[in-house]
């Protein structure tokens, strides 16, 4: 990466739910064309972070800029426009269960880009093929397919509009290692072919190593470490070390009984 242009910059973002502080002054920069992975324990607020960027949740304070334009506190019309640059794969795929698989994939084209149904269908089938799903699957409904297939459909739906930015929320969680690796490969190739900027979330280190250019670790509402993937093995940071080695003992104490 020669010139590091900021695609998304997050400054001092705070988000609380009631008395529970989830994001506590978080700073993070996402450069154009890179693939950044955020790691962190369950319930540390990784999904909340994504939802704040997507405008699904409003930060209590702080600033989030996408391509230099602020999205915190602006009206929904402008926000929609900025956010249409982002494609998102949800943690549980979040497929529309009233629509068939291909209709799910065609949805952003028909609704967002006002494509004709025929065109959208062709594009949807193409993307489904790209994620390794056959034409029979395309006619099924989301309840009729497995979790791994759902993730792939979700992936196809996220990339069908060829967005500039892609978010992946735990793309491999709940999948067997082989399927997980297939999804990782798909993500890498999608990001490469689209030339997109990717922000992924995971606590699966194998996946992080595979898809990340840089890794950031979220702990107690802040990014406590961020750096190149190759550097993460020797950060000298006890928290990061405990997490990537998956040890129960260390500075990170799991908060079992915190409401």
């Amino acid at each position: 990466m020669t010139q590091k242009k900021n695609k998304i910059s997050i400054k001092n973002v705070k988000k609380t739910f009631g008395s529970k502080i989830v994001l506590n002054g978080l700073n993070l920069d996402l450069f154009s064309g890179e693939s950044l992975v955020v790691i962190g324990g369950s319930g540390t607020g990784k999904s909340v972070l994504l939802k704040n960027i997507l405008g699904l949740l409003e930060p209590d304070s702080g600033s989030i800029k996408i391509d230099g334009s602020e999205i915190v506190g602006i009206n929904s019309k402008e926000k929609e426009k900025t956010l249409s640059k982002i494609g998102m794969l949800f943690q549980n795929a979040a497929l529309f269960d009233s629509l068939s698989v291909w209709e799910n994939v065609a949805f952003p084209l028909i609704q967002g880009k006002k494509a004709s149904k025929e065109m959208a269908k062709i594009a949807a089938f193409e993307k489904l093929k790209a994620v390794g799903l056959s034409e029979e699957v395309a006619e099924l409904y989301p309840v009729e397919i497995s979790g791994g297939m759902k993730k792939r459909v979700g992936l196809a739906r996220a990339i069908v509009t060829e967005p500039e930015v892609l978010f992946f929320d735990e793309p491999t969680t709940g999948l067997d290692p082989i399927m997980g690796d297939i999804i990782n490969d798909l993500i890498v190739s999608c990001v490469k072919t689209l030339g997109a900027t990717a922000l992924s979330i995971t606590h699966d280190m194998a996946s992080a190593f595979k898809i990340a250019d840089r890794i950031a670790m979220l702990y107690q509402g802040k990014i406590i470490w961020v750096g190149e993937t190759k550097d993460i093995r020797n950060t000298g940071n006890d928290y990061v070390e405990q997490f990537i080695n998956g040890r129960a003992n260390g500075p990170i104490k799991m908060e079992f009984r915190q409401i």
Binding site: K51, S84, L95
Partner: protein, 259 residues
């Protein structure tokens, strides 16, 4: 002291609920006039509400008409019984019973279905997914339902009016042995346009209430399957109570200066 804390907490939550419903209502109504519009979704909802509710509403109406005729026969003097019974049946059906009973039946059928469907979409992040796919969830989910509820219920009530009056006619003619032509003639004599119009206005308002509360409770449901269940119950109970309250108010508006 405890009692006052209890009282305070509950009145606070009541007011915040009223506030949230008002905001939801205003947003929904404003969104009715902001594109994009989804005529196809409206048509599908009208079929769902209007057409598939016909059996339930029809059965309710026919038995209500029948029992009205039977009850008023036992209650009224034999003097001019045709006229009195025809009068009671047609006025009660068109002014009150058809709209209210159809409203309550549809609240159970459609209000519950809306809350459950939208609630499930909420807890499985499908509503979040809609926003990320450049689709406003209000335009896509709420507006079509509210428009079709408001349109479809009057049609249902017209059918209920006819079937209810027919139920009264069947009992009067076949069981009580009245003269069929005389009975129908009396029915026509007594009915005023205002009776039918007030019933249809009620139906429209009830349809609005049912779909608004169904959407509201679904949209704001949280906490998994249990939350969706709660949303469904709240939608039906809330709509039923509001229907009865609105019924009184509309009756007051229409008929207070006539009688």
């Amino acid at each position: 002291m405890r009692f006052f804390i209890f009282l305070g907490k509950h009145s606070l939550s009541l007011f915040s609920t009223i506030g949230r419903i008002s905001i939801f209502t205003i947003t929904a109504i404003t969104r009715c006039f902001v594109p994009p519009f989804y005529p196809r979704l409206i048509a599908r909802q009208i079929v769902e509400i209007g057409f598939y509710s016909l059996p339930v509403v029809g059965l309710t109406a026919i038995f209500t008409g029948m029992v009205l005729a039977l009850q008023s026969y036992t209650g009224f003097a034999r003097f001019n019984a045709e006229g009195a019974i025809a009068n009671v049946v047609v006025l009660s059906i068109t002014r009150e019973l058809a709209p209210v009973l159809a409203g309550l039946m549809v609240a159970g059928r459609i209000g519950a279905a809306m809350a459950a469907e939208i609630g499930t979409m909420r807890v499985t992040e499908q509503i979040d997914a809609l926003s990320t796919l450049s689709t406003n969830p209000f335009n896509y989910l709420v507006v079509p339902r509210i428009i079709s509820g408001t349109i479809a219920l009057p049609f249902l009530v017209i059918v209920a009016d006819v079937i209810g009056v027919m139920g009264g006619y069947l009992v009067s003619v076949h069981k009580l042995g009245f003269n069929p032509t005389l009975y129908l003639q009396k029915t026509w004599e007594f009915i005023q346009p205002i009776d039918i119009i007030s019933g249809l206005v009620k139906a429209s308002v009830f349809g609005f209430i049912i779909s608004l509360l169904g959407c509201y409770h679904g949209y704001h449901s949280e906490g998994g399957a249990q939350g969706v269940g709660r949303a469904t119950t709240n939608a039906v109970v809330g709509a039923s109570i509001l229907i009865l309250a609105a019924n009184y108010m509309i009756t007051e508006i229409f008929f207070s200066n006539i009688q």
